[in-house]
């Protein structure tokens, strides 16, 4: 297992390799801003960061390193994800200017940009020559999670995407393969469609339940299941709105099919799966109690035991499946680029330039490569170079497959729905999902949800929202190319 010291060596080696590979006359984006930031020595900047593991990055790694390089202090304001938008807006509305730099979920960007809470970054990008390195951010993130109305409001900084994790030892076991063939008449293979998933999940549960293993388990709590619905709905051909009228179409036949399927699948998952959140589902998979799951990238790392010897990760169940995990795209082949983070500057900051220098440094090729490999934080690869980084590839035996799957997922991934007042639409979906688990009729739930979506759209203004939706729908990751 790789420990922190090994990790440091790998990072150093990779860093040297990267530095040596660059022409001598070309200063990196990180070097440029470090030099520029020295004028702010002694100054302090604040940055809003998601509370918990995520914030260990600036508190344990990047913050201290930035101080060492520039003499600037970084104060980290840890905020729970559910409160981040509110806090940012409150700070902006009050004009307090308490925050300089921000972590922003890209789906919020239109709302924050329209409200005026975010600083336009284009002049800074030009001033500090960041354009070439911005171009090496993986295209899905760069093209879809950076701009609003053609202006840069944030640097994509976290390659969040759903992957399917499965037990290779189960799928490659000849006895299980035979039992599955006898039972279903089909060969056991990692499912590529949701119809296949139903057959494989149910079949494996029947075969393995006596050993305490279920065919699959998912997180089902509404905030997580909402992303899974968004993904699956579009993979099955669903559209959120009629682009001409802006009438919600989540209650289409596709929506009802997806809702019906989601609830039906709970039957072959562990009892009480409706209550599973990120941690419950993680524990189930890492303890070897489910053959398949879908989640964010840290599952793949922790399943291999990477970083779980760190104190910060002592709550992660010890993996019983290291070396037995396979990685694939979820059924449908277009995974959700669920949540993610971008780095932005608060428009009310009194230290905009200094704060910008810090976020450019964080996001730069050199520094981001180190940050996405920190074992104790949750930043995931988002630059082309991250997926092929020799240091990362050496972290565990099949890290190559993991990074290849992540790269593929980033290329085919689907963006979270992002409109004006997105959270209002999402709130309706979260409630709809909780009603689904409570046993209500899928069609009735979705009809009510669609009516609520229409009411929200009416209130915001149909024409106004239509323009924003058209902009979002035109992005490469909005809908799969069928």
């Amino acid at each position: 297992m790789v420990n922190r010291r090994d990790f440091g060596k790998i990072s150093l080696a990779a860093g040297l390799a990267a530095t040596l590979g660059r022409p001598a006359w070309a200063a990196s984006a990180a070097d440029t801003v470090v030099k520029a930031a020295q004028q702010y020595k002694g100054r302090s900047i604040t940055i809003v960061w998601e509370a918990g593991l995520q914030s260990l990055d600036p508190t344990h790694f990047s913050g201290p390193k930035w101080k060492e390089l520039t003499g600037m202090d970084v104060k980290v304001i840890e905020v729970a994800t559910a409160e981040m938008f509110t806090k940012i807006m409150q700070d902006y509305k009050s004009g307090a200017g308490a925050y300089d730099a921000l972590n922003v979920i890209p789906a919020w960007m239109p709302d924050l940009a329209q409200a005026g809470a975010l600083e336009v970054l284009d002049p800074y990008v030009e001033k500090y020559g960041y354009t070439p390195e911005l171009q090496t951010i993986a295209s899905t993130f760069r093209d879809n999670q950076m701009k609003v109305g053609g202006k840069i409001y944030g640097f994509p900084d976290d390659g969040d995407v759903f992957l399917m994790y499965y037990r290779r030892d189960i799928f490659e076991d000849p006895t299980i393969q035979k039992a599955f063939k006898d039972k279903t008449g089909k060969d056991l293979a990692v499912p590529k469609t949701w119809a296949d998933f139903d057959v494989v999940g149910a079949g494996l549960t029947d075969i393995l339940k006596d050993k305490g293993i279920y065919g699959a388990a998912f997180f089902r709590q509404p905030p997580y299941a909402m992303y899974m619905f968004e993904e699956r709905f579009r993979n099955e051909g669903g559209k959120f709105f009629d682009a001409d009228t802006m009438k919600a179409t989540i209650n289409s036949d596709v929506g009802v099919k997806v809702f019906t399927g989601m609830r039906k699948e709970n039957r072959f998952m562990p009892p009480g799966v409706e209550q599973f959140g990120f941690v419950e589902n993680l524990a189930t998979f890492l303890q070897g109690q489910s053959a398949m799951t879908i989640s964010w990238p840290p599952y793949g790392r922790w399943a291999e035991g990477y970083g779980t010897d760190q104190e910060a990760l002592n709550w992660v169940p010890k993996t019983a499946i290291a070396g037995k995990v396979g990685y694939a795209l979820p059924p449908g082949g277009h995974p959700e680029l669920a949540a993610g983070f971008a780095l932005s500057i608060s428009s009310t900051s009194k230290n905009k330039d200094a704060a910008y220098l810090f976020i450019q440094w964080l996001n730069s090729t050199d520094v981001s490569r180190q940050r996405v490999q920190l074992p104790y934080t949750l930043r995931d690869p988002f630059r082309d170079s991250h997926y092929t980084d020799p240091g990362y590839l050496a972290l565990w035996p099949n890290a190559k497959d993991y990074l290849a799957a992540l790269k593929q997922a980033s290329e085919t991934g689907l963006l979270d729905l992002s409109l004006l007042q997105t959270d209002k639409y999402e709130e309706v979906m979260r409630q709809a999902i909780s009603k689904l688990w409570a046993g209500d009729d899928p069609k009735t739930i979705l009809n009510a949800a669609a009516t609520q979506w229409d009411d929200i759209t009416q209130k915001i203004g149909v024409e106004k929202q239509k323009v924003v939706y058209a902009g979002w729908a035109a992005k490469s990751g909005a809908y799969p190319k069928m």
Binding site: T86, M89, D111, Q421, A438
Partner: protein, 292 residues
Amino acid sequence: MAATAHPDRNFKYWLISPAIFLLLLIGLFPLIFSLVVSFMRVTMLETDTSFAGLVNFVQLFHDARLWQSFVHTALVIVIALPIELLLGLAIAYLFLDRMPGRQILVSLLMLPTIISPIVAGATWRLLFDNRYGPINQMIGWFAGHPVPALWTVNPQLVYPAIIFCEIWQWTPFMFLILLAALSNVDRSLTEAAEIDGARFWRSFRYIVPPAIWPVMSIAILIRGLDLFRIFDIIWALTAGGPGTMTETVSVYAYVQGFRQFESSYTAAIAFLVIALLTVIVTWAIRRMGLAK
């Protein structure tokens, strides 16, 4: 005798005026500001903050979800309040007589009330967890097979779970107040009734409640108001779900104000609640004879 000059009679008002000004600033200003906001179009997401007249107040009457939240709140009050009262009274009566370890037991009984409700809610959420929670496990021991009850998901179980937590946390409050009240009841009255041949239940019914009524009615009023604004336990357990099935007025107001950022509409909800509570509390005070 030479006339002595009287000090300025208004001087005392000058002395207390800074405190009054401060109190008004802290207490009244937010109230007035909220009232002003309730007549505007303030949301955190729009730049338009123009005067809206009665739009937000009219919207209140068309908002089915708001009225459902009142029904949910009433449901919790109607079930939890009598149970807390009766249970508190019964336990207080038990603890009226001296017994070994009484003080320690009373202290232990009070523990739930000193826990923050949001912490209590989060703890109960863990206890109710289908997979790792001990409650299902214990039920399973009695049932003889695993019981996968989804306490925070199943529509049949969410209210029992919420009300159970509420009763667990706040019955001790009732108990303590009623214990104090019962301790002051003149024992000679019940003893005289018993000497006259009245059985326990008759002597208790006709002597104890009237004797403790002034205190008991205040306890009912305090707990009733607390239950009206119930938020923490529900937020921690169900967040108002499934759907909006357990969404109380406070939960709904929170969602509107801090999730949907509808500042003006939330202010209108707050004023509706203030108006309703004023009517209810005034009625209750008269009905309970507290004004006397």
